[in-house]
């Protein structure tokens, strides 16, 4: 039975933190298979990118929350952030719901690429969520605490 690894960190809403998180996760998964290590690194990076770009600090706390855990057969990554406006939150909901209702994440990812090909003016590709599901093979969930205005996106991968 392997060791469980958990890492919980309040992080600043600065772009430089994205690489720090990616490097930290890389160090935590370095003994894992290349495929799993990459999936964890990429998923962590993409979720933190979204939080920094579209989120805000959680009230009364510093920045956003990042949680990573790795057990014998499951990896889980959670990012929690404040919500700036309802539209961004509705977009996240819509994309995750679409991903979860699809039987083939690859088809969804390709469909998203085709949308970007046809509409270069799209300012938010949200391709990261599709990439997490297709390339990383993580399952995505979201939860929203309306009282505290906290959105949490959770990515889980069984291996």
């Amino acid at each position: 039975m392997g060791d469980n690894i958990t890492f919980n960190y309040n992080i600043d809403l600065t772009w430089s933190i994205v690489k720090l998180i990616r490097d930290k996760v890389s160090s935590l998964v370095e003994s894992q298979s290349e495929e799993l290590a990459y999936a964890c690194k990429m998923t962590s990076s993409e979720l933190v990118e979204n939080a920094v770009k579209y989120g805000c600090s959680i009230d009364n706390k510093k920045g956003i929350e990042f949680f990573f855990s790795l057990g014998d057969n499951e990896a889980q990554i959670k990012v929690s952030n404040g919500v700036i406006n309802k539209t961004d939150f509705e977009n996240v909901k819509a994309h995750i719901n679409e991903i979860n209702s699809s039987v083939n994440p690859q088809d969804l990812y390709i469909k998203r690429l085709n949308t970007l090909l046809e509409k270069p003016e799209l300012s938010q590709s949200q391709l990261g969520l599709y990439r997490i599901a297709f390339e990383g093979e993580f399952l995505l969930e979201y939860s929203y605490n309306e009282n505290l205005n906290i959105l949490t996106v959770t990515a889980t991968k069984k291996f």
């Binding site: 994205v18 290349e34 993409e46 990118e49 970007l116 090909l117 391709l127």
Partner: protein, 118 residues
């Protein structure tokens, strides 16, 4: 034609005897890659019209999903300009295989663009 360097990303380009080679190196992880990549890649299109282009991603270590839209727009412009383009990626790297294999579906839409893992 000038090379590109920003943050951890480098793009080298050279052209000789009507064959152009563009190599992506390092990591593309900036917040808004399109703001720098779009003008740079656009600036190359006219000069590439007389050449066949190979774009090599094999040695690119990492790219965030925000890097994909400027790549797609570049491919679209290359195709519109009828520049025969081959994209190569490392087929043994799972992330490259996933990311770039998905672009193979464009071959039916972008007739001048070929994507190949090697």
């Amino acid at each position: 034609m000038e090379n590109f360097a920003s943050g951890a990303l480098k793009i080298n380009i050279n052209i000789e005897d009507k064959k152009a080679f563009m190599t992506w190196l390092g990591q593309s992880d900036s917040r808004n890659p399109a703001s720098e990549l779009n003008p740079y890649l656009d600036s190359l299109v006219d000069e590439l019209k007389t050449a066949e282009l190979t774009i090599k991603f094999n040695d690119l270590e990492y790219m965030n999903s925000s890097t994909v839209p400027p790549i797609i727009q570049f491919l679209k412009k290359l195709n519109t300009s009828e520049i025969k383009t081959l994209i190569t990626y490392n087929a043994e790297s799972k992330w490259q295989a996933a990311s770039f294999k998905a672009l193979e579906t464009f071959s039916g839409i972008l007739n001048y663009i070929t994507v190949k893992g090697n």
